[in-house]
């Protein structure tokens, strides 16, 4: 009895919630991921000349992308701007090219689910796979199945550790070390080459964290030996953690001049912490990586000095690469994309293009 009543109550509550919600009036943001001006440009197709992967070497038979079954496997749920823009870009580009049969799955951050997602895509007859891998390792079961059917695999934003051409066609993504170097260049400019800098590290044990840290430190050591990195603590790529660590940081190291946040969310958390501590915009220079709309707005407002973009719009480049492959061109192992940079000079004008 009580059980039924409780169930009815819960049901009613759910209806109530979905029925009359009314959120705060914020300026309606344009849909992320659409803008053509922001499509990715190839920075440098790398790999030794002649070692590219051709359709003849890979063994697939050419097909028409428009009528083919194309599978896209997303790794994390679309709960952050990067993932939202990434999935949207794949869908938009497929629609633009007239690819009728795009199947999209989402692994919700569970690696086992991603493996079975991709296996299902193969079972459904996918002729091309675009994968945003959650992990770099552990893909053998999928790779074997795909190789048996000669399905070309393009991985985006993270790599799969496997053999080029035999296992996967190409990797399209950013150079995270280079992103770190460019962030360092911005920090050096912000501080005039001298001062104390804190790093808000990403989640530990993640190649993005390691490479963004490595690039930043190398560049600072090489170009501005007077910049001292006095503090590095993880903010786990999350806004709340970025805020809490920054609160501790500015309290115990009041002489800090700059904060390098390895993603925008932590940078925005740091901004909230600085505001809470009564600092003024620009007192402490913040440089971050990602290029989300919130962070670019932060530059316009004066709280963030600069942002290095990590471009999530893989759609055009992924399908263009696939088309080249089908046309018989050789495809390199890595396609490194170019990331833009935002600073006070271009932030306001570029706001509409940030994701």
């Amino acid at each position: 009895m009580l059980r039924h009543r409780a169930a009815a109550l819960l049901g009613a509550a759910a209806l109530l919630v979905s029925g009359c919600a009314k959120s705060e009036n914020t300026a309606t943001a344009p849909e992320p991921g659409g803008s053509d001006a922001q499509q990715q440009v190839v920075e440098s197709p790398t790999g030794p000349a002649g070692a590219g992967c051709t359709i003849a070497r890979q063994g697939a038979t050419a097909f028409d992308l428009k009528t083919a079954v194309v599978g896209f496997s997303q790794s994390e749920k679309e709960a952050n701007p990067f993932r939202i823009a990434e999935t949207q870009s794949i869908k938009d580009e497929a629609a633009k090219l007239g690819i009728a049969n795009l199947k999209v799955t989402n692994a919700q951050s569970q690696f086992a689910k991603q493996i079975s997602d991709v296996q299902q895509l193969i079972a459904q007859g996918a002729q091309l796979l675009v994968i945003a891998p959650l992990n770099s390792d552990g893909w053998e079961p999928v790779l074997q199945q795909a190789a048996a059917k000669k399905v070309p695999i393009i991985t985006i934003d993270r790599k799969i550790n496997a053999r080029h051409c035999a296992d996967f066609l190409t990797f399209i993504g950013s150079d995270f070390v280079e992103q770190g170097r460019r962030a360092a260049d911005q920090m050096i400019e912000a501080l005039g080459g001298k001062g104390k800098v804190a790093i808000l590290l990403g989640a530990p044990g993640n190649n993005v964290t390691t490479e963004r840290t490595q690039g930043f430190k190398e560049q600072v050591a090489a170009k501005a030996p007077d910049i001292e990195i006095t503090f590095e603590q993880t903010g786990e790529f999350a806004r709340e953690k970025g805020q809490q660590v920054t609160e501790q940081l500015i309290q115990s190291n009041p002489d800090i001049d700059g904060i390098y946040a390895e993603n925008d969310e932590m940078a925005l958390g740091a901004v909230t912490a600085l505001k809470g501590a009564g600092k003024k915009a620009g007192d402490i220079k913040i440089v971050s990586i990602d290029g989300t709309r919130g962070a670019v707005q932060g530059i316009v407002d004066g709280w963030i000095f600069g942002v290095v973009e990590s471009n999530p719009r893989f759609g055009q480049l992924a399908f263009a690469t696939a088309q080249k492959f089908l046309d018989g061109e050789a495809i390199p192992e890595k396609v490194i994309i170019s990331d833009r940079e935002y600073d006070a000079a271009n932030a306001e004008a570029s706001l509409g293009q940030a994701y």
């Binding site: 009580l2 919630v17 705060e24 709340e240 609160e247 501790q248 115990s252």
Partner: protein
């Protein structure tokens, strides 16, 4: 002979003292260490930072202490915080107070669901609330799929303003600590709660409304978690149901256990719980301020938890 007895007595005395005051002593020691070795530690700003950061954990841990007092456990608290965050974002259009009311209502409903599963259906608390941990986080993400910032002045003020130098977030926590302490020590309900945790069969046989008590306790835990969710959200100036409250259940359980409340129920130590939360906060602050890697924090926390559990084991 007498010497061994003396030593054994000493040992018993030391252990029982540690059980009762160990967590206070640990806080004092850590505090003294920081006062000497951490620059800018003895500053009002610093105390404010630590208290503001620990407030949501304390509030969640209060609810957790009540549930643990009934020999239960509530793993859903972190997800309830996330749900509260999404409710706030969804209903902020009506103003801050209606949004907060909806968040608390959502917390009460999840608590009621857990309470019904435990008290009426008879599911083990760890299983029932594990289901809610997963399901409610999912629900929160359905309502609000991604982080949303807000500028509502009332809500922002709750997160960042102070009254007489004390942040509102901290004041709320202090009031709730006092209320829960009163509830446990001075009210019939408090006695009944402890009795149910001590011996459920005996409580039922002596005519206590066991089901109603359990249901109420889970509802209270849900509401307290929702309060924590609202406070954390107002501090962040953004609703973030994806990551808000992640692993909060573990922090809360740690605070309760380190504070000396036995997992076997029948006892609730409110001030001990507050101290347990403070100890963990201070520990983390110490390691961050000295720029030590996070893995050190985790190992130090493990040592403290083991010490607390060891002290509890000696009790019997």
């Amino acid at each position: 002979m007498t010497e061994t007895i003396d030593r054994a007595l000493d040992r018993v005395r030391v252990v029982s003292w540690l059980q009762r005051y160990g967590v206070y002593a640990a806080v004092v020691v850590l505090f003294a260490f920081n006062a000497v070795f951490t620059p800018h530690f003895l500053a009002a700003d610093n105390f404010r930072t630590q208290l503001v950061q620990v407030a949501p954990i304390v509030i969640v841990a209060l609810g957790m202490a009540l549930v643990i007092g009934t020999e239960g456990i509530d793993l859903s608290v972190g997800s309830v915080m996330a749900l509260a965050a999404s409710m706030v974002a969804l209903y902020l259009g009506y103003g801050a107070l209606p949004a907060i009311a909806m968040a608390l209502l959502a917390g009460a409903l999840v608590g009621a669901a857990g309470g019904v599963l435990v008290a009426v259906v008879g599911v083990q608390p760890i299983v029932a609330t594990l289901a809610l941990l997963v399901g409610v986080r999912g629900l929160a993400n359905v309502f609000l799929p991604q982080l949303r910032e807000f500028t509502n002045p009332t809500l922002v003020a709750i997160g960042s303003d102070s009254v007489a130098g004390v942040p509102i977030v901290v004041l709320v926590a202090v009031v709730l600590v006092a209320a829960v302490a009163f509830l446990v020590r001075r009210t019939t309900f408090g006695r009944q709660l402890v009795a149910v945790g001590g011996n459920r069969t005996a409580s039922r046989l002596s005519g206590l409304p066991v089901r109603r008590i359990l249901l109420t306790v889970y509802v209270l835990a849900g509401v307290l978690a929702a309060v924590a969710g609202v406070l954390a959200t107002s501090r962040l100036q953004a609703s973030d149901p994806t990551s808000l409250g992640l692993f909060m259940e573990l922090s809360a359980i740690t605070a309760v256990v380190v504070g000396g409340t036995p997992l076997t129920g029948g006892r609730v130590r409110v001030l001990g719980t507050v101290m347990g939360a403070l100890l963990m906060q201070l520990l983390q602050a110490t390691l961050i301020k000295h720029n030590l890697p996070q893995s050190w924090t985790q190992m130090a926390q493990a040592v403290i938890i083991l010490a607390a559990v060891y002290a509890a084991r000696e009790r019997r």
